[in-house]
Structures are given as structure tokens and as C-alpha cells.
Symmetry: C4
Subunit: 212 residues, 4 copies
């Protein structure tokens, strides 16, 4: 039983799913511009700005999901059935992202006519993100319980740092989710700040930067 | 001739196909919501529930296909032309899944007007699943015949356990397929139970959990 | 400079492209059934049989392309700029396949009204296949010229066998291409026979089966 | 901390994104031919030639992006958080390519009626390419600053050669971008020449060809 190989195949499959989900996002941008030949392109880009915002936000979010997955699996070296099923749950969340992204973009363009739909799309969008945050939390709790699936000589400092960060993720996304019921624009602003926060160099808790 | 590398490329290609097939499923969910701006989003989600059910069921099924493939290829270490062709047959089944999934979802929404179409979609859907189960059976029989493509120091206990499980798979899916001719709802309920059954921790026969 | 790693990344990228091209084929099958709710599903499947035939034929062909690629890269161990560019040419052919496949399926359904279009689609379809066969020929000639990119201890018998087979491929596909100008149905029958021929166990010239 | 494995996963994810972006390009070609059954196929191909040109140009460009990525990551052996984020920026550019490609093709067919749109699409198209060129420049500057992420025994000659080439890329693409404001056809001609230039064997600066 070659354990190294096992997690590497989980990573390969997950990489594939993240890569596809992140690349499919552009399809809805293209289709949002398909039946609109009356306007000039640059005016169209301005009119459809929520489509572009939703695209960028979802791209950043799936990108962060991948960064996170990458980081966890530098620490997780074993895979059992439950880990694979929990990982499938995460991938489910990743593949779903293009759906509320498309709705958010579309309903955002139409917000003047139907504000309720835009709000509901924001709730759905943040619901998926909250599901992602909880999914990572669960997978991480399972893998680290009694050091179950970690390398025996794992950097415990790195584990603790992720423990702390994984309390913040679900908290932040619960707030963004709750705000979506109040005001979709504020909720999206929080989403944007969270994406920037997780991509910024200073705050990043990448295990790979501290090899000691 | 680096045999290790050979099966690893079969796995990489298969991972790619599974990853894409599982991610494409969301496209039909998105398109099912494309021309329906009259209703509120949450009402739409309720109206299109068969689209969401078909999505989840197919996601779980392709996920289980990947789990199975992963498990088999921890035991199969050699690849010959016939294995590659049998593997292509399995991948054919995986890539086809989004098609009956889309039909099932769509005809499910329209079931009040056209029950025959919904039944036929369920038959097709279960036919594909049965094809998957038989495909795995065939590939496994071929690979294990006289231990042909297994590692010389393979865990024979793990092989037996898969042998036993692979008698159950085709049997269960034959039942679900037969039930689709009688009542599509019962057939889908059996599909759901089978997906849960194969994902549950207790019943899982993962070879990786018993390294001795 | 880790040469092993270099060809392995060429293979990974190519695997990705083949995996996606082969999986996208189903999208056009799904869309061929999208606006046809008047007929019963099983009648529709019968009516759209050229869509299903084109899907299966293209799936088999991309599958064979992957098998071939896999085989070549068990012998090719070095990569230079020209090989990467020639490989891109092959991948171009692979990504193009879904386009004439969609046309062939659609025009096939409509053949009674517009036979010229069906013939032109068959010509295009076979033109792509001929391009594939010539592409492999070229890549192989380049890689084997003075053993340039082969392993120093390569099995020369395996190289010769591929040499011989690679004279046949372009020949067969030139015939199928020429026949498309005469009669599209005969041309498609030849395509089908070629696919079966390359997938059959007896005729397969897999290098991996004869390790001595 | 297995550093080799870390960059290899960045490469795998990037390979996935490049592979998908390059393969999705054909979808817009197919859809450009979907509602045009009145003309004969060969006449259609002639009429939609800008769709085919945009497809080929974008295929070549994403192919060159991959070649570049491949080349850089034979020299970069370490990954930190910032590199992963800069790499995500590049992948963002790669996934966006199919969008201006679709616009360029479509507006090109319609150029006689709406020249302004075609010009704006060319500006957008070249803007994305310029973004790609600057993205590579940035990633390379970051990785090579004080040899930060390079192998300790890296071939400094290869690093210098890329340094020089990476001054040319942004320069050339700035010119093509500026020309798009003047005349879209000239800009596209420059794009075509650049693609050929980067694919030609003589000019290629592949590090793998000079192993000493």
C-alpha cells in the first residue's frame, strides 16, 4: 500500500475539479454577452458589470479554495474512506460555485426590476461559501483528530496556525451570509474584502514559507 | 519500460475525465434556470427540484465511480492494451452521465404533462448506471484473472473483499434498472439509497484502511 | 535539468486536453435533445441516431489518440521546443474534434433535406482525422530521427513496430477522407471499422505487453 | 516539507487550467455554426472565417502561455504564498481568453455593420494578451529576485536568456495593443506574427535544449 501515492491521487482529482470549476466561470460571462449586439461593447461591459464582478469574486474564491486545499495536503499524508468522502463534499461545493455566480451576475444586471431576486441570489451565493468554509473545517477536524492522517513528524506549529485560521473562516462567512439577508451590496463588499484578505501576502499563513 | 509510470498515466487521464464529467453537471442546472426570470429565485429552486436532485445523485455517483477507480488502481499495477480499452469503456460511461442527468431533471419538472418521458429518462439513467457497474466488474475480472495485472505482493484479502462487493453492485443496479420500468420514483429512491450506502463509512471496504 | 519531469508535464497537459475534449463531446448530445419535447424520449433517441453515432465514433477516436500518445511517450523520454510545438499541433486536432462531430450529428439528422451539408460535414470530419494521423506521423518522425528524443536503451523492436503502424494510419485515413467525397455513409463505415480495428486486442501493438 | 511536491502541484493545477481554457475555445466555434442551416457548410466556414482565425490565434496564445509556464517551472523549484497568488493572476488571464476570443470572432463576422464593436473587441483581446505578458514578467521578477525561488544550482545562462526575452514580450504586446486603437486588422496581423515568432524553432529559447 503506497500511501504517498494515495493522497497524490486525491490531490490530482481535486486539482482537476478546481481547475475546471474555475475555468467554467468564463462561460457565463460569454453567454451574458451573446444576445446583446445593439449596444457598443464598452457600454455593454459597463452595463453587465455585476457579471464581471461575480466572475472575479468567484474566481478568487475558488482560487483560495485551491490554495487552502494545497496547504492542507502538505500536512495530510494519509487518506481513508471518510477523508475521500469529506473531500468529495468540498469538491461538490467547488463545482456548485458557477451556478450562484451566474444567477448573481444576471440578477445583478436586472436589479432595478427585481431586487428580491438579486437578494436571494446573494443569499444563495453566500450560502455556498459558508458551506465551503464549514466543509474545510470538518475535513481538517477529521484529519487532525489525534493526528490521525498527518505525517508523524508534522510541524505542529503549522497545524495550530491552521486551527486558529479555521475558526475565523466559518465566522466571517456566517457574517457575510447573515448580511445577505439585510443588504446584498454590503454582503458582496464583505465577500470582496474576505477574498483580498486571504490573498494578501502579510496575512497568509502558508506553511511552506516557514520550513523550520 | 517503467510500469509504475504506465498505470499512473492511466490514472491521470481517468482522473481528468471523472473531474470534468462531475464538474460539467452544474452546467445543466445553470441552464435550467436561464429563461425563467418571471418567478422568484427561491420559488424556482422549489419548482426545479428534480434538476437539483438529479444533479446531486449524479455527482454522488461519479464521485463513487472515482472512489472505486482509485481503490482498484491501488491494487492494479500493470497496464496492457486490453485494460486501457476496458478503462475507456468505463470513462465512456462516466462522460455519458451528464446526458441522462439533464433529461431526468428536465422531464422531472415536466412530469405532470408527460409522465412517459420521465419514466423513459429514468430507464436511461439507470441503464447508464448498470453499464457502469458491469464495466467495473469486467475490468476487475480482467485485471485479477490469474492475478494478471496485480502487484505480486498484493493483499489477497483486499482482492476478495472487492470480488464480493463487485457481485453486489451489478445486482443492485439491475434491481434499480428493473424498477425504473415499474415506477420511476421508486427507482430513484433506490438510486439515492445506493449512493448513501456506498458513501457511508461503516460499509466502505477501502483497502487503504487496513494496511496489514 | 530534470528531463524525466519535463516529458511528464507534457503528458499531464496532454492528458488534460484529451480528457476535456473527450468529455465535452456529450454537451452536443445534450443540446441536440434540448428543444424537442414534443416527441417521446425513445423516439427521439431513434430520430437523433446520427448524433449518437458521431458521439461514439469521436469518443473512440479521441480515446485511440490518447492510447497512441501514451504509447509514444513510453518511448520518448526527452522534450525539446519542437516536440512541444508538434505536440500542440496534435492537441489542436484533439480539441477541434467536437466541432465536426456536432456538425456531423446535426446534419445527419437533417440529411433528407440537405444532403450536401451532410457530405461536407463528413469531409470536414475525416479531414480532421487525417490531420491527426499525419500529426502523429510527424511527431514520431521528429522524435525518432537518429533516436533524438528516445531513451538510449529503448526497445528498437517496439520503435520499428510503431514505424510500420504509422505508415498504415495516414494511408487508411486518406482512403476514408477520399471516400467522404464519394459517399459519406461509406466513409463513416470505414471510420467505424478503423476505430474497432485500433481498439481490438489482437491487432494492438502495445509496447507495454512485450517487456523483453 | 517536500518542496518538490509543492511546485509539482502548482504545475498540475496550472496544467489543468491551461488545458481546459485551450479546449473550451472550440465551444464558441461550434455555437457560431448552430443557427445557420440555410447556407452550405463550406460557404459558412468562409463566412465565419474570423471565428476560425480567433480560435487559432487564441489556441496558439494559450499554447505559448503553457510553453512559457513549463519553461519557468523547470527553473523555479520553490513555491511560497505570493508565487501562488501571482500564478493565480496568470491563470485568471488564461481563463479569460475564451471571452474576448468569442467576441472577436462574432464581431468580426459582423464587421461590415458595426466596425466600432470589432475594434473594441480587438482592444479587449490585446488588453488580455498584454495582461498575460505583464503577469509573466511579474511572476518571473518575483521568483528570481535574489534567486529566491530558483534551484541553488540553476543554470544562470538560462535565467539571463529568459530575462532578456521577458523584456521583449510586454514591449511587443504593448505595440499590438496600441495598434488595436488605430486599426484592428493590423493589430491582429501583429498578434499572428507574434504567435508564429514564439512557436518557431530557431528563435525558441527553450532551456531544455542546452543541458550544459
Amino acid at each position: 500500500m503506497d500511501e504517498k501515492k494515495e493522497t497524490s491521487r486525491v490531490e490530482a482529482f481535486s486539482d482537476g475539479v478546481f481547475a475546471i470549476a474555475i475555468t467554467l466561470l468564463i462561460l457565463d460571462v460569454t453567454s451574458a454577452f451573446s444576445d446583446a449586439s445593439k449596444l457598443q461593447l464598452f457600454d455593454l461591459l459597463r452595463q453587465q458589470w455585476t457579471v464581471l464582478l461575480a466572475f472575479l469574486l468567484s474566481f478568487a474564491t475558488i482560487g483560495i479554495m485551491w490554495l487552502n486545499h494545497h496547504r492542507l495536503f502538505t500536512l495530510i499524508v494519509r487518506a481513508d474512506h471518510n477523508l475521500l468522502v469529506l473531500n468529495l463534499l468540498l469538491l461538490l461545493a467547488a463545482t456548485v460555485v458557477p451556478f450562484p455566480t451566474a444567477l448573481l451576475g444576471r440578477y445583478g444586471v436586472d436589479v432595478a426590476n427585481n431586487e428580491a431576486n438579486f437578494k436571494q441570489a446573494t443569499i444563495l451565493y453566500n450560502g455556498v461559501f459558508l458551506f465551503v468554509a464549514l466543509g474545510y473545517h470538518l475535513l481538517w477536524l477529521y484529519a487532525t483528530y489525534k493526528g490521525r492522517l498527518l505525517s508523524p513528524n508534522v510541524n505542529m506549529e503549522a497545524v495550530r496556525r491552521i486551527d486558529r485560521q479555521y475558526l475565523l473562516g466559518p465566522l466571517f462567512y456566517t457574517i457575510a451570509f447573515a448580511l445577505a439577508f439585510v443588504n446584498p451590496w454590503i454582503s458582496l463588499a464583505v465577500n470582496t474584502l474576505l477574498a483580498i484578505f486571504f490573498l494578501l501576502p502579510g496575512i497568509a499563513l502558508s506553511t511552506s514559507q516557514k520550513p523550520e
